[in-house]
């Protein structure tokens, strides 16, 4: 137990150092920083388009009005900040590292290879842009709906954290195929396209997709569950599954990684 805690501390310290290094590097190459923000603003516009369509069509979407849609899309934008700013860049680079054998250097470091492969690169510009944009949208939506109390905000934050953990796991599992097929750039692309399922509330989809997106590939836990909680529309079963799913899927992702890494054969070796 003591060793585990020390290990967690070591990785946390390392993460702070990696994060600081990434911020310094972004400040050195400012074009990356600025164009990263431009890119996220572009993506944000495409997400907001879904609200615009709902507003202009003058219809509720699956029983949710425009203000509730704002909470859904705002939550989705904020969680996207975590996905794109914290681990997406590292995941997208994984295929290249395996292809040219640079993954060797990660394997030989005295820290977890999974940790380095996941959190080596981060982008503060993307993280801040999405998080702020999403938070503003959620705040506007909630204030127009009459506001919420402290405990609801706390519960919302809890399900957001659970959503982030689930997002990390379900994006990692298919990427472990990279050790078998080497060029997994498109897998990252497919997984990335699944991310957009949260552009609209889960109630929009049919029963089969809803069940698949809740239990098999729990996409809807990422941003629909926190939004449902803060809007007071979450069922008891969803509350329990929303809290349990991160444990189940992190364990699955870890197993998939450990199995996948056994297939790694260095391109240089």
């Amino acid at each position: 137990m003591k060793d585990a805690l020390r290990d967690i501390q070591k990785h946390l310290r390392l993460y702070v150092m990696l994060f600081r290094m990434n911020v310094m590097s972004q400040m050195e190459y400012r074009a990356n920083f600025i164009t990263g923000i431009m890119m996220e603003l572009g993506y944000m516009v495409t997400k907001v388009l879904y609200i615009v369509v709902a507003f202009r069509a003058g219809r509720d979407i699956g029983g949710f009005g425009p203000d509730e849609m704002l909470v859904f899309v705002g939550t989705f934008i904020a969680v996207t900040g975590f996905y794109a700013g914290v681990f997406m860049i590292s995941f997208f680079q994984l295929s290249g590292l395996v292809k040219d054998g640079s993954f060797d250097t990660i394997m030989t470091k005295p820290v977890s290879a999974l940790f380095l492969a996941s959190f080596r690169r981060s982008d503060i510009g993307i993280l801040a842009t999405d998080f702020l944009g999403g938070a503003v949208a959620v705040a506007i939506g909630l204030s127009r709906l009459g506001g919420v109390d402290f405990w609801t905000v706390l519960g919302y934050a809890f399900y957001m954290a659970c959503g982030c953990a689930v997002a990390y796991s379900i994006f990692l599992i298919p990427l472990t195929l990279v050790f078998r097929i080497v060029n997994a750039q498109a897998i990252a692309g497919v997984v990335d396209s699944f991310w957009d399922f949260n552009n609209v509330p889960m109630v929009v989809y049919g029963k089969t997709i809803r069940a698949l997106g809740t239990y098999a590939i729990p996409m809807f836990l990422i941003s629909s569950f926190p939004a449902l909680f803060v809007l007071g529309r979450m069922t008891a079963a969803q509350m329990i599954w929303g809290a349990l799913a991160p444990i189940v899927f992190i364990a699955l992702a870890r197993t998939a990684w450990n199995r996948g890494i056994k297939n790694y054969s260095s391109a240089t070796g």
């Binding site: 990356n32 890119m39 572009g42 388009l49 369509v53 202009r56 979407i61 498109a186 692309g189 609209v200």
Partner: protein, 288 residues
Amino acid sequence: MAKADRRRPAGKYLRSLSLGLRGALEYRANFFFSLLGAVSPVIIQTALWTCLYAPDPGAAASGSAAGAGAQPELFGFTYVQMLAYVVIANIVGRLVRTGFEYELNNDIRLGGLDRFLVKPIGYFGFRIAQFLGAKSAEAVFMCAVLGAGLLVLSLTVGLGLSATAVLGFFLALLIALVLNFLIFWCVGLLGFWLTEIGFFFEAVRIVIITASGGIFPLSVFGTTGEAILRALPFRFTIQFPTEVLCGRVAGLGLIQGLCMGLFWILPLGLLAGLLWSSGIRRFVAVGS
């Protein structure tokens, strides 16, 4: 073989085309996964539009005409047209999508372009041949997917297709490929002036896809927004071919659209030439 290439100048471009084709098929699993990526936007948008076109339960219960009629049109599209638009626009968006701008930028930034300047092959011709080669592999599969999608739409929601629409679509698609190549060629050439590109190409790509009608039809932007976007060349890369196949543009509108699309090739080609000639004067092959 090299002798044959010297005798037939087109031979070297055919070889570049074949290189592009082989490059696309080198990692086949990757290629098929990239096709799979086109499915999720279709599912998401179909679900959204099905929800928006569904009869309003409140109005239906009160027995009003609006409830019974269930909004036959939204943004100028019937439900069937909108579903067809979603499927076709996503496939067309994938077909015309480029990616060479990153390689072009690398060639400029790292100095790899100097190799092409001394070779007996035009860099523009080499890139367009490679682009078309890579696209030809994708086009075969995407056309099969499109055919299957259209068959499903005609069987489930009664979408009709005419031979003129199919022919017009392929002509519009060819123009779209050339236009999109030229647009991103111009964007890529900005590498002569920008030393760091970062996510710039991705940011531009999102804006262009949105302005092309690749996410939603341009009519969702309102009258003014749509009028502005219709005056730009981008709609000819996705929205126009899509509307032709949906049967929303036919007859004189189709001929006018094809002529307008062809017309846009001229200013974009001139812009590309201008950017290349002024950019190449700045090129110093730093990395080579």
